[in-house]
Structures are given as structure tokens and as C-alpha cells.
């Protein structure tokens, strides 16, 4: 592969696959909000 093609492959990998990894880490660290609004005790919490 040429240098410019490799560069754009790396950019794609970092931005798209990096975005996927970052979003998974973000979700794993904060799976749900800490405080729900009023009335939360009346709705189910099974997710």
C-alpha cells in the first residue's frame, strides 16, 4: 500500500473503530444514570 493510502486507512481505523471502542467503554463505565427523575420508583428497573 502507498503511504497516503496507509495514512487514510489509519485515520479510518482510529476514528471509526476507535469511536466504537470509546463508545463501548463509555457505556460500560456509565451503564445507567445515577439519579432518575421523579416517579422512577414506580417504573421497572430490569434493564
Amino acid at each position: 500500500m502507498t503511504g497516503i493510502a496507509i495514512t487514510f486507512f489509519v485515520i479510518a481505523a482510529v476514528l471509526v473503530w476507535g469511536g466504537l471502542i470509546a463508545s463501548i467503554i463509555f457505556l460500560a463505565r456509565q451503564p445507567q444514570v445515577k439519579n432518575y427523575p421523579e416517579g422512577s420508583e414506580l417504573v421497572s428497573d430490569d434493564d
Binding site: 500500500m1 502507498t2 497516503i4 493510502a5 496507509i6 495514512t7 487514510f8 486507512f9 485515520i11 479510518a12 481505523a13 476514528l15 471509526v16 473503530w17 469511536g19 466504537l20 470509546a22 463508545s23 463501548i24 463509555f26 457505556l27 456509565q30 451503564p31 445507567q32 444514570v33 432518575y36 427523575p37 421523579e38 416517579g39 422512577s40 414506580l42 417504573v43 421497572s44 428497573d45 430490569d46 434493564d47
Partner: protein
């Protein structure tokens, strides 16, 4: 707040509790399974190559962030807050004028009906080609085999001459998909996605790794990733990027509204949406690498440059170009089986999601079960699908209906949804507050601006441009009478279907519903 359990969990349009995904993972896998479809494999690589190669990544990522993810958030917000199929959710969103907005939901459902009947045929073709791979049934002339021998394609029209080689797998696809659909969300749709999505990823990764070691693969990747920066000055390249993102993410035609309506009320909405959006694009990049490494090999074998190859996207890429490559490749049958097996799995999970929109809407409106919806509605669709797409005119009908359903139907539905929700019913602040109240990734005015201004402007441009082309130039040289019936007729069916379904009576009152968090609680949060 005693109303929440009463109206929330049961949704009040049915006498049963609303089904739910068993958890975050089941939902995410199912949503990715919906988004990752045939277009990821056969559309993205060619579109990227023809619109600037590596430089296409710039408008593509901008489109993802400014339109794809915001509209995905909008769909999730509507489905999650108003907890129903597309017609139910829009009706509830509309409040007193909800009846009018319900028709937009049915418009989306009818788009799904149209897409389902032809998408099943493509899955059936891929399933046939999966078996053909083992003995390279297409021989030395894959193009002639596909058009003439396999599909027995005749001139544009509506033939009653069935093609058994298409009819039998098509019936089997419908039996399989309706069996899954009738099993409900957790035991059917979710379970199928938990099995097929990992299988798809593994199969496709094996295919990509194999492709990378073929002669000429690197020249294929050079063609795919080398940027043509002059393309960035072409408005059509930007439109291509927004179109790709828009059609790829399964947004604006009810799927994501329906899927998010099966999440629990306290579910995190936006953070999983980011995972879904980036997973979809990640698969597209992998597909681009796999497809162009393979095309590089083909060009090397032919002694030509990549840009001299034909059939780099769509049906031509999958059913003509790829079989030709498989025939020349060492270990071709296995490679072919992996490719067409991947198409079947990607197509099947997307087809499931399209049909779930239809099933959910009929369940809500008529108080029927998932099994009843699969048997009654699904069977009717299967019959229409077989009548239209297993005949000698199936390919041309499919091509025409697909063009209108996507470029006019879905784009039109998206424009209507963004304008009506944000500007007419002014629900942007409420939906933004809802997303932020239950999600760890908060949204605000920027999101509302993207959904309410940028998205409709880009989509309107896309729609007008496409309509002008379809009206002035026609499509693929097909006769005008045929385009009027199969093309514009498709839009007429969607509109009439939406109006008719809206006029019918509900089994249970959908308006007996109170969203949670309440609007008062959301206002309180903003202070």
C-alpha cells in the same frame, strides 16, 4: 405518579405487558443486526470508491455525526418515550392532534411492508448462491447465469411465470423469518440476532483476512483508501455521504422507534445508540477492505486497473462480479460460501427488523399477539412477495420498487418526521430532556438544531434532486408506464395504505398513556 406502572409497562394499547429485550446487550446486538445489512457489504465500498476514496471518509464521518447519530437519537427518543410501534408512538407524541401524526407512523409501516416483500427475495437469492458456491454453479459466465439462467429475467412488466429456483428459497426465507417473528422480541428477534450477528462478524472477518493475502489485494486497498481531495468540492459527494449514512443506519422508517419501544423505561438510550452507530460504520470499513482487496485480486487476474472493472456496487457486485472472482480463486467455494453466507445473515437480521415494525404496528392497533401478526399479516406479505418477486420480472420490479421506496419514501418520511416533530409539534425540548434524563450521554440544543435544521435541509435537497432525475430522465431506461405503476405506484400504495390504516379503529385506546418522566419532571430537571 401512580399512572406510570398502569400506562407505562402495559402501554395500554394491549391487554398484555409490552414485551422487552432481556437487557442492554440483546437490544444493542439486535439494533446492530438491523443496521448492518446488505447495503453495508455491497453499497458502502463502491460508493466510497466512486466518491473520493479515502477522502470520502471526511464527509462520511461528518454525516454520521451531524445527521446519522442525531436522527438515530430522535427515533430512539420517540420510541422510548412513547412506548409503542411507529403509529402508536407518533399518535401519542401528537397529543390532541395525534390522529394526524399517527398517519406518519403508518406511512413508515407501509414503507417497511414494501421493503420486506422485495428484501426477502434478495435474501433468497443470496441463500441460493450460498449453495451454488460449493459447485460454482454459475460457470464461466456469472452475468449470463444470474440474469438469464437463474432469474430468467424478461422485459419490464408483471409476469405470472414463476421461477422455481427463486420461488422455493423465497418461501423458505418467509417461513424462517415468520417463525422468528412469531416467537416475539426476546425469544425470537433477540435470539436470532444473538446467534447471527457474531456469526456474521466471524464469517466476514475470515473472508477479509483471506482476501488480504490474495495477489493484488494491496492495489485494491490503494484504490479504496487513496484520497481524491477534489471530490470534496463536489456537492454530490457530500450528498452521497449523507445518503449512505442515512440508508445504512435503518433510521426514519420505524425500525429504531419500534426497537427502542421494547426497552425498559429506565434504559440508557443515547450511549447504546453511539455503540450501534459506530458498530455499523466499523462494519462498513471492514466490508470496504474485504471487497476492495478481493476486487484488487480480480483486477490483477484480468490484468486491468481497478477503475476498469464494472459492477462495483449492489446486485451486480454481489451476484455477478463476486461469483466471477470466486471462480478464479484458489479455495473459491469456501470464499463464496463465506461471502453469500454473510449476505444471508446480514440480510436476514435486517429483514427481521423491517418486519418487526409491521408486526408491532398491527399488534398495537388490533390487540393481536406476535404469533397472530406473523401468521396473518406475515403470511399475506409472503404471498405478495412470492407473486411479485419469484417471477421472471422479479429483478426489474425489485430494482424499481427499491429505488422509489428508499429515495422517495424513506427520505420523504424522514423530512416529514423531523419537521413535524421539531417545528410543528415542537417536541424537540421534551425529547432532548427525556434522552438526557434517562441516558448517560446528554443532548441539548445542538442536537435539536441538527435534527430540526441540518437534517431536513440535506434530506430535502436529496429528495428534490432525486425526484427531478426520476421525472426528467426516468430510471434505467424502463418504459414510462412501468415506472408510473411500479415506481410512483409504490408511493401511492404507501400513502393510501397509511391513510386507510389510520382511519381504522383501535382495539384498545392508545391515548390512555402517560409518558415517564412526566413533562413537569423534565421541566424541573432543566432548571
Amino acid at each position: 405518579m401512580s399512572v406510570q406502572r398502569k400506562s407505562g409497562e402495559h402501554g395500554s394499547v394491549a391487554s398484555r405487558p409490552r414485551e422487552q429485550w432481556t437487557g442492554q446487550l440483546g437490544f444493542i446486538l439486535s439494533a446492530i443486526g438491523s443496521a448492518v445489512g446488505l447495503g453495508n457489504i455491497w453499497r458502502f465500498p463502491g460508493v466510497a470508491y466512486e466518491n473520493g476514496g479515502g477522502a470520502f471518509l471526511i464527509p462520511y464521518l461528518i454525516a454520521l455525526v451531524t445527521a446519522g447519530i442525531p436522527i438515530l437519537f430522535l427515533d430512539y427518543a420517540i420510541g422510548h418515550r412513547f412506548r409503542g410501534s411507529s403509529p402508536t408512538a407518533f399518535r401519542r407524541l401528537g397529543g390532541k392532534a395525534g390522529k394526524w401524526l399517527e398517519s406518519l407512523g403508518w406511512f413508515q409501516v407501509w414503507i417497511c411492508i414494501i421493503i420486506a416483500v422485495y428484501y426477502a427475495a434478495v435474501v433468497a437469492w443470496a441463500a441460493s448462491y450460498f449453495t451454488f458456491s460449493f459447485d460454482l454453479r454459475w460457470g464461466d459466465d456469472p452475468g449470463g447465469f444470474f440474469i438469464t439462467e437463474f432469474l430468467q429475467t424478461s422485459d419490464p412488466g408483471f409476469s405470472s411465470q414463476f421461477v422455481p429456483a427463486v420461488l422455493i428459497p423465497l418461501v423458505l426465507v418467509w417461513v424462517a423469518v415468520l417463525a422468528v417473528l412469531g416467537s416475539g422480541i426476546a425469544k425470537g428477534v433477540q435470539r436470532a440476532n444473538i446467534i447471527f450477528l457474531p456469526l456474521l462478524v466471524v464469517a466476514f472477518l475470515i473472508l477479509v483476512v483471506r482476501a488480504l493475502f490474495l495477489d493484488g489485494a494491496m492495489s485494491g486497498l490503494n484504490a479504496f483508501f487513496t484520497p481524491d481531495f477534489t471530490a470534496l468540492g463536489d456537492p454530490n459527494v457530500w450528498i452521497a455521504a449523507y445518503s449512505q449514512i442515512f440508508f445504512s443506519l435503518s433510521i426514519a422508517f420505524g425500525i429504531m422507534i419500534t426497537y427502542s419501544s421494547y426497552r425498559s423505561r429506565k434504559a440508557n438510550v443515547t450511549a447504546p445508540a453511539l455503540v450501534v452507530a459506530f458498530a455499523n460504520s466499523s462494519f462498513e470499513i471492514i466490508a470496504g477492505i474485504g471487497v476492495f482487496a478481493t476486487l484488487g485480486y480480480f483486477a490483477f487476474q484480468q490484468g486491468v486497473a481497478i477503475d476498469e472493472l464494472e459492477g462495483l456496487t449492489g446486485v451486480g457486485l454481489s451476484f455477478i462480479t463476486f461469483p466471477a472472482i470466486v471462480s478464479q480463486m484458489p479455495g473459491g467455494p469456501i470464499f463464496g460460501a463465506l461471502f453469500f453466507g454473510s449476505l444471508v445473515m446480514a440480510g436476514f437480521t435486517s429483514l427481521l427488523s423491517v418486519l418487526q415494525v409491521v408486526s408491532s404496528a398491527f399488534q398495537d392497533k388490533f390487540g393481536i399477539t406476535a404469533r397472530q401478526a406473523a401468521l396473518r399479516v406475515g403470511s399475506a406479505l409472503a404471498i405478495v412477495s412470492v407473486l411479485l418477486f419469484s417471477t421472471t420480472t422479479g429483478l426489474i420490479t425489485l430494482d424499481t420498487v427499491d429505488q422509489w421506496a428508499n429515495n422517495v419514501g424513506i427520505v420523504g418520511a424522514a423530512i416529514a418526521a423531523t419537521i413535524l416533530v421539531i417545528w410543528v409539534f415542537r417536541k424537540g425540548p421534551e425529547l432532548a430532556a427525556h434522552l438526557s434524563a434517562v441516558s448517560t450521554f446528554r443532548v441539548g440544543r445542538v442536537w435539536q438544531l441538527l435534527v430540526g435544521v441540518l437534517a431536513p435541509v440535506v434530506l430535502l435537497y436529496m429528495l428534490i434532486q432525486r425526484i427531478i432525475v426520476l421525472v426528467t430522465e426516468g430510471y434505467e431506461g424502463y418504459p414510462l408506464w412501468y415506472l408510473a405503476v411500479a415506481g410512483w405506484g409504490t408511493i401511492a400504495v404507501i400513502v393510501i395504505g397509511a391513510i386507510t390504516m389510520t382511519a381504522l379503529r383501535w382495539k384498545h385506546d392508545p391515548d390512555e398513556f402517560t409518558p415517564w418522566p412526566s413533562t413537569e419532571a423534565l421541566k424541573e430537571l432543566k432548571k
